[in-house]
């Protein structure tokens, strides 16, 4: 089970880091949820996301907007994942907690720590493992310039 979950996390990270944004929604179930939150809002019990998608369709909308509408300086991410904990929820699902670090590389080579935090996931295992929900809890409330590519 651990290898299945870690493999899903790795495929998620590589899809984003390799600029295969179109593959990103495919790692979720059709009604999968994605939400970027901040630790501060979570601690205050405030519901505001930095960005959220309530379905794969909404994730595709975001990718389409990033590709064709939004204007931002070319940049890449490098995701680092660690400390994955997995618990069984029922016969078909597990939950996972993992730390992440996202390094952002601008087109001129400027490299910086862009975000850190944890992924809180609910994963449906069969027929193939997919996220039913991924909540990205960022440690900081601050975002440098903009958050275009999903974390």
């Amino acid at each position: 089970m651990r290898s299945v979950v870690e493999d899903l996390h790795a495929r998620y990270a590589h899809a984003l880091d390799d600029d295969r944004l179109e593959d990103w929604p495919e790692l979720f179930t059709e009604t999968g949820k994605y939400r970027v939150a901040t630790a501060e809002n979570e601690a205050r019990g405030l519901p505001l996301p930095v960005l959220s998608c309530d379905s794969r369709a909404m994730m595709r909308d975001r990718v389409q907007s990033l590709r064709h509408a939004n204007v931002y300086e070319p940049q890449r991410y490098r995701h680092m994942l660690s400390s994955v904990l997995i618990s069984k929820l029922d016969g078909e699902r597990v939950s996972s907690v993992a730390n992440f670090l996202v390094i952002r590389i601008m087109q001129n080579g400027d490299t910086s720590v862009f975000a850190s935090g944890k992924y809180l996931d609910r994963i449906l295992l069969a027929p193939e493992p997919k996220y039913e929900e991924r909540v990205v809890v960022c440690d900081s409330r601050r975002f440098d310039t903009l958050l275009a590519i999903p974390l």
Binding site: L48, L51, R60, F143, T145, L146
Partner: protein, 406 residues
């Protein structure tokens, strides 16, 4: 101080964004001068003894509700050695004690106790003639409008409502109709001068050109009804766009069926754009800015206060606080949260403002004595029915020059 270009209102020299002396003068004459600055929402100070900490320009500030319920604000600087009096971003406290030497303050920022003021056993302590109060934290005048809390260090600036003036005040009150409820907050760090963000906000000409999401999905096109209001002194502005006649989802369908290249840009989930006309005036977007650093937005059903905090000539913190009304039902809260995808650092229509202002900073690095051309709509500062104008930008600089005496 350097001289302004001879062309006057239609030119803004780039040194205004770069010069450390300009930055210092702004701190003194604008942020600590005859202006009102946004501090927080009243909803963030729900009960007596609640407090938050914030900034007005470079100055750290404590905002609190005193035991009698009165809103207070004071400089977050101990009279003794200048340490922060309060470190927490928010909370409740019976009093504020500086951690360094435990000097304590009440909710109005009055120094109420000096540890060992008379020494111990007749030895040590402050001499009787000592006057630490002479270095007390500065106190703000505090006023509110519709749940927004503002502060000023100036005794001379008129009341908040007079400061905002009769042109812009109704545009602000239009949104602030009921008690507010905080939905959450975050900060967008802009690697550029604070005035680049303010003139971006006041630039109604850029919105549909930079923010292609607007144009692609027909949220805001310059062909739509709209206009710009500018206060008499140029300092404050309001730009608005009318809601397109929208029978059911006709607007979205039209967007999807548009000819040519736009066929590619249809939303699978157009719910993100679906607005309830909650103020009953068919306005889809309204952006209000108050000098020096406050913006209130209504973008469809997304409502937010944006607070601009300069952090040096080349850096600005933009604090977003998104809110709804205390009596919103679950569907409205959900709608506001869904539409929060339009705004903030990851917002479909806000993310680019950080980039555009950064591009200006980088572009003008070697051109302090050249100037930007701000001539759309002529050279005047006035309310305009067209948004293809830079009238509100000229207004900002008119007000800025007046405060700065430049």
């Amino acid at each position: 101080m350097r001289a302004w270009p001879a062309e006057g209102a239609t030119r803004v020299p780039y040194w205004v964004y770069q010069d450390p002396e300009v930055y210092e003068r702004e701190q003194q004459r604008i942020w600590r001068g005859r202006t009102w600055s946004y501090l927080c929402l009243e909803a963030e100070l729900p009960e007596p003894q609640s407090f938050i900490t914030t900034y007005v320009g470079d100055m750290p500030v404590v905002v609190s509700r005193d035991p009698g319920g009165v809103l207070r604000a004071f400089e977050n600087r101990c009279a003794h050695r200048g340490a922060l009096i309060c470190m927490q971003p928010r909370g409740k406290a019976e009093r504020f004690a500086c951690i360094y030497h435990n000097w304590t303050y009440d909710h109005a920022g009055n120094l109420t106790n000096v540890a060992f003021r008379r020494g111990i056993g007749g030895k040590g302590g402050l001499p009787p003639e000592a006057d630490p109060e002479s270095q007390a934290p500065r106190k703000f005048r505090v006023e509110t409008i519709g749940g927004l809390v503002f502060g000023s260090l100036s005794e001379e600036v008129p009341s908040l409502e007079q400061y905002i003036g009769p042109v812009i005040l109704p545009r602000l009150k239009r949104v602030l109709t009921k008690p507010l409820k905080v939905l959450g907050a975050y900060t967008q760090v802009l690697p550029s001068n604070w005035k680049l963000y303010m003139d971006n906000t006041k630039d109604s000409y850029h919105a549909s050109l930079l923010h292609l999401f607007f144009t692609r999905f027909r949220i805001n096109r310059l062909t739509q009804a709209g206009g710009v209001f500018v206060s008499g002194d140029g300092a404050h502005h309001c730009a608005y766009t009318g809601l397109v006649e929208d029978k059911g989802d006709a607007y979205e369908k039209d967007g999807m069926r548009s000819a040519g290249v736009e066929n590619k840009f249809s939303l699978e989930k157009p719910e993100i754009l679906r607005q309830v006309d909650e103020f009953g005036d068919a306005v889809s977007i309204q952006i209000v800015s108050l000098f020096p650093g406050f913006v209130l937005h209504q973008i469809r059903n997304s409502l937010a206060a944006r607070q601009v905090v300069p952090r040096g000539p080349d850096r600005t913190d933009l604090h977003w606080t998104l809110f709804g009304f205390a009596d919103d039902d679950a569907a409205m809260t959900e709608r506001r949260l869904l539409q929060s995808n339009l705004v903030g650092p990851a917002g479909y229509i806000s993310m680019e403002d950080g980039v555009a202002t950064d591009f200006v900073r980088r572009g003008v690095a070697a051109a302090p004595d050249r100037a930007s051309v701000i001539e759309m709509g002529g050279s005047g500062v006035a309310t305009s029915e067209s948004r293809i104008t830079e009238t509100a930008v000229r207004g900002l600089w008119q007000a800025w020059r007046s405060h700065m005496d430049i």
